[in-house]
């Protein structure tokens, strides 16, 4: 069964982060992605640009980012395969983002199945 991992963190922290710290985190993500692939649990994953470069679209109009939803913003996602929620939670806990932000685990809707 497919699960979507939504990675939330304080996106402003990246603006002031030292390069050495950034590359350490990038390295952690590379290793994590590799572990997902090796376990044949990886479908997809992408990091997102800061929400100030995004837009929020309603039929009534478009609002420019950043969005004042709270301190934490969506910073990326992974789509993974897991047998059940416990296995998905194990992968979520291993994701680097879980250690400085949080990871929301959402089951993918298997429509009609």
């Amino acid at each position: 069964m497919k699960y979507l991992l939504l990675l939330y963190d304080n996106e402003d922290a990246w603006d002031v982060m030292e390069d050495s710290k950034k590359s350490e985190i990038f390295g952690a993500y590379m290793a994590y992605t590799e572990a997902l692939r090796k376990a044949e649990a990886y479908y997809a994953g992408d990091p997102l640009v800061h929400s100030r470069d995004g837009k929020r679209v309603r039929v009534s109009g478009v609002q420019d980012g950043p969005f004042a939803d709270g301190k934490e913003q969506l910073g990326g996602y992974y789509m993974i395969e897991a047998d059940d929620l416990d296995e998905a939670l194990d992968w979520a806990a291993r994701c680097p983002c879980a250690s400085y932000g949080y990871v929301e685990v959402r089951p993918v809707w298997n429509i009609g199945g």
């Binding site: 992408d46 837009k55 789509m79 929301e104 685990v105 089951p107 993918v108």
Partner: protein, 121 residues
Amino acid sequence: MKVMLLANESPEDFSLREDKPEFDAYMGEWYAFSEEMSKAGLTQSSAALEQPSSATVVSVRDGKRKVEDGPFPDTKEQLGGFFIIDAPDLETASKWAAKCPAAKNGFVDVRPILDFEGSES
């Protein structure tokens, strides 16, 4: 550019997914939108998500795992699905977002995907 469209639906829209007569009409709108985007050669991948109440939130602090009933934050509109598209620019992506069924009673976030060197396309 690669862009993620995040369809945030209202509670009313989510409730249409339950065994209701309006279900077919609700799904019909989504199928139509999805097909239109595919025909335009935009969609790279997409998925619909289960109800927000099925969300679980995980964090790790001081080596200890914390698991909680989600979703976070507990706002009115919640993520119901997403599309990864390849659009010429943000403007075009936003125009497509406005056609998304979720934009009527909820909203669609248009978020460019980070394209750093060495990444796979």
